[in-house]
């Protein structure tokens, strides 16, 4: 009897255990609904708590860069980069307008694509983030202390600046490869003479390690292919840069047919260290150019735009050993290098397979001159000699690959709308998950560096259709967060994004958050129109221009009554925020202004131009609910007829 009781206990225990196992299986079950798993718990960041990662997502056709927290998917900020931003006056204020200057004049919009965070020894260091403007070729540098665009450099001899802004592993260079080849230098010529006459430029921009300042070191003038995406060598392949090409057919019309005729296009392997040495020894040809270099000064808070008039070009044939072509099937799009630097992945967007080249085999093929012809004098390596492996039939329409630190790769497939995990080295497919819908880039924090943080994968989707409440015909794009810490990827969350998220970059929050600036120190404010104290406030006429030296503090402007302004004047409101307290910006808006507001953070001076067109007494006010007496923070400008002889006067608190 006792025995049987014991057996019963055993059975009961066993049953209990089995039940629990089932429970665990359920927990990690594949269901995509938050309720089916504990997914909600895993993305929940309690009120007041911080996210684990910053994710910087390209704003695509908004031209900006958005900042999200992961895993919550909460949007923290939109950083204006290439487009005017009425929300804070970027591109509207006198100080920031020069940031958007180009050789084409003021260009207030662009199509931002591929953010990349600065690195040291191939690891994310969180100093700066770079992003490219695709339409009017530009590269921007955003400082990650100020979370502000500090520099934009235009790229001459380029068009469709798509294969950028990727950086080498010590941030020596940021690259900008042209998607559209063009006549270099530009000239009036028939389009159908493209072949052999148009050229593609690959621009290497050096980065000053102290200031982050960018300068074009050299432009490699390549055959007239389309240079799509690029990736620096890492670790053992540091010193090389790889660019995918398509349209090696050099078609100039109906590319969807004519650029898909060759079975293989190329990945261009560029030994930039060899070219660097060549130009350091006086190599290359300085040619006339015209491009803008715009820099924001952290102390004057003013941007200056300088037009540069020449650029150093390099003909690849003049530098032996610098450039080779790696044949890669079917119009490769993404070009990705694994964290060890050994494998170069060509994501042939019209191919059913993924092609992986071996860096070691590439060097060997170069050494032993295993060439399979040449294109415009550039040696083509023999495909079979450099091939490391093929991921067979992983999906349809491969675009991009990212890596974790465990030797796995994650490739996005646009047509079959899925993410596929595969093993680097064995090329075996380990897992696949659908995405909703039609994913472009994927991103793992540090996933293109030597040190990935393989906890999350973010799919950046082009299409959402029915995923959210409908908002008319124009729908949002989305990001989808997968937990990739286990053997199988698990969908945790999806959230909408701004513009079209192309690439994104994420970094552990700890590497940035403690450096984030709280205020600009008034003592360091070197703005020439700053009014540091009430004694500095004044209004000065210079012909038709009126300069208002104004400051602001909770809860008034000084001055807040201005008279003597006339119709036809151009009024410059130079406003200094005297606050030296965290998170107390003030806004400034004046009726009928033909630009935007200003949002001025503590310690900063910014300038808005106002051209009054009507006689009257016109109010201005603070737009940011700054204090309990925010509604009292206002003022008036009296505007008199153009021929009035009322003298300028200004005051605060006078009867």
């Amino acid at each position: 009897m006792k025995k049987s009781i014991n057996i019963l206990f055993f059975l009961a225990i066993a049953a209990g255990l089995v039940g629990c196992n089932n429970g665990n299986d359920r927990k990690s079950g594949k269901g995509q609904g938050g309720l089916a798993t504990n997914a909600a718990e895993r993305v929940y960041v309690a009120p007041g708590e911080h996210d684990e990662y910053y994710a910087f997502m390209s704003g695509g056709f908004s031209g900006q860069l958005s900042v999200y927290g992961l895993p919550s998917g909460r949007m923290l900020k939109v950083l204006p980069v290439f487009s005017q931003n009425p929300e804070n006056g970027y591109g509207y204020s006198e100080e920031t307008k020069p940031m958007l200057n180009t050789s084409y004049g003021f260009v207030p919009w662009d199509d931002s694509h591929h953010p990349d965070i600065s690195q040291t020894n191939g690891e994310l260091d969180g100093r700066w983030i770079f992003i490219n403007g695709n339409n009017t070729p530009r590269i921007a540098r955003i400082d990650l202390k100020n979370f502000a665009t500090e520099e934009i450099i235009e790229i001459p001899n380029s068009a469709g600046n798509h294969s950028s802004s990727f950086i080498t592993e010590n941030t020596e260079y940021v690259v900008a490869g042209t998607r559209f080849s063009v006549p270099i230098p530009q000239k009036d010529m028939p389009i159908n003479e493209y072949k052999g006459n148009f050229k593609g430029s690959l621009t290497f921009i050096s980065v000053d390690q102290e200031t982050g300042r960018m300068g074009i070191k050299f432009q490699l003038i390549m055959p007239g292919f389309n240079y799509d995406l690029s990736h620096p060598g890492r670790d053992k392949s540091h010193g090389w840069f790889f660019f995918t090409t398509y349209n090696t057919e050099e078609a100039h019309s109906l590319l969807e047919v004519n650029a898909s005729q060759n079975d293989k296009d190329f990945i261009a392997a560029i030994n930039w260290k060899v070219i660097e040495e060549y130009v350091n020894n006086g190599g290359g040809k300085m040619v006339p150019a015209n491009y803008a270099h715009n820099v924001m000064d952290e102390n004057t808070h003013m941007a200056t735009s300088t037009m540069l008039k020449e650029v150093l070009t390099v003909n690849p044939l003049d530098v032996p050993g610098a450039v080779y072509f790696l044949p890669t099937p079917k119009s490769p799009h993404g070009c990705d290098v694994d964290p060890t630097g050994e494998y170069i992945i060509g994501n042939g967007k019209l191919s059913a397979d993924l092609t992986v080249h071996s860096f070691t085999k590439m060097l060997d093929a170069i050494k032993n001159k295993k060439f399979d012809g040449e294109a415009y004098g550039i040696p083509i390596l023999n495909f079979e000699d450099i091939l490391a492996g093929v991921v067979k039939q992983p999906g349809l329409g491969p675009l991009h690959t990212e890596f974790d630190e465990k030797g796995n790769a994650y490739t996005t497939f646009f047509i079959s709308s899925e993410v596929v995990k595969w093993k680097v080295g064995t090329w075996e497919v380990l897992d696949r998950q659908p995405v909703f819908y039609s994913v472009g880039h994927g991103m793992i924090p540090g996933g293109n560096s030597r040190k990935p943080f393989g906890k999350y994968f973010v799919a950046l989707n082009k299409i959402t259709k029915d995923r959210y409440l409908p908002t008319g015909p124009e729908l949002t794009q989305s990001a989808q967060l997968f937990d990739i810490s286990g053997d199988k990827m698990e969908l945790l969350l999806d959230f909408p994004t701004i513009g079209e998220p192309h690439y994104a970059a994420a970094i552990p929050a700890e590497l940035i958050k403690n450096n984030s600036r709280k205020i600009y120190k008034l003592a360091e404010n070197k703005h020439p129109y700053a009014a540091h104290s009430d004694g500095d406030t004044k209004v000065v006429r210079d012909g038709k221009e009126v300069h208002v030296y104004m400051n602001m503090i909770r809860s008034h402007f000084n001055p807040d009554n201005i008279e003597g302004v006339k119709v036809g004047d151009k009024v410059f409101f130079h406003i200094t925020n005297l606050e030296q307290d965290f998170d107390v910006p003030h806004g400034f808006a004046v009726i009928g202004a033909n630009n935007a507001e200003l949002l001025i953070v503590p310690g900063k001076t910014e300038t808005l131009v106002w051209e009054p067109k009507q006689v009257g007494v016109w109010p201005f006010y603070c737009t940011d609910f700054c204090s309990a007496l925010h509604q009292e923070m206002q003022g008036y400008v009296r505007v008199s007829p153009a021929d009035s002889d009322i003298e300028l006067s200004w005051s605060l608190g006078e009867d």
């Binding site: 206990f9 629990c20 429970g23 047919v257 079917k330 039939q393 349809l396 047509i415 659908p434 039609s438």
Partner: protein, 189 residues
């Protein structure tokens, strides 16, 4: 001694059950989890309700009485979502008669679950990225199929053959075009 042992059993049993109790808090997930597995099967763009847009490639195939074999094959291969994405895609859609012309038993064999990948490969050999009319296809010597293989394009008089299959009719779709063909385009591999 025996009592101690028993006590141990009881307490460990309790522990086990207590642990289970925590689990049962999410016990309802049993049903929802199985449900969501079903959802995983029937989710994706193929299953969005939309009667306003121009029909997509899949909807056209489903609506055609001449393509019931093809539709059954697409469903068996789980390729629904690949036919409804932004594309653009050209689908060379063999008629029921084209499938019937295969050696007896071939279709039945391919529809077996264990042959899912093989079937998917054959079907992908009927899909080309792009959207070209029959006339426009005359400009091509070959087209690259989603399987990774090429299919030759031949022009004989007014007729266009792709991979040996003759285009009988063409139906534009919201995300590409369906070319109805008279033969199954068997892959070389």
């Amino acid at each position: 001694m025996k009592t101690i042992l028993k006590m141990l059993f009881v307490s460990s049993a309790l522990l086990v059950f207590a642990a289970c109790k925590n689990e049962t808090a999410t016990g309802t997930s049993v049903e929802s989890s199985t449900k969501s597995d079903v959802q995983t099967k029937n989710q994706g763009q193929a299953f969005i309700e939309d009667d306003e847009s121009e029909p997509n490639l899949l909807q056209i195939a489903i609506g055609s009485p001449d393509h019931t074999t093809l539709v059954a094959a697409v469903q068996a291969a789980g390729l629904e979502n690949s036919l409804v994405n932004a594309g653009p895609l050209m689908v060379f859609a063999p008629t029921n008669a084209a499938f019937d012309a295969l050696p007896p038993g071939t279709v039945e064999e391919l529809l077996k679950p264990e042959n899912k990948e093989k079937l998917a490969y054959i079907l992908k050999n009927h899909v080309t990225p792009g959207n070209y009319s029959k006339d426009f296809l005359k400009k091509f010597k070959k087209v690259g199929q989603a399987s990774g293989e090429d299919a030759a394009v031949e022009v004989k008089g007014e007729d266009v053959y792709v991979g040996g299959a003759k285009i009988l009719a063409s139906v534009p779709a919201g995300n590409g075009i369906v070319h109805v063909v008279d033969k199954v385009i068997l892959p070389a591999n």
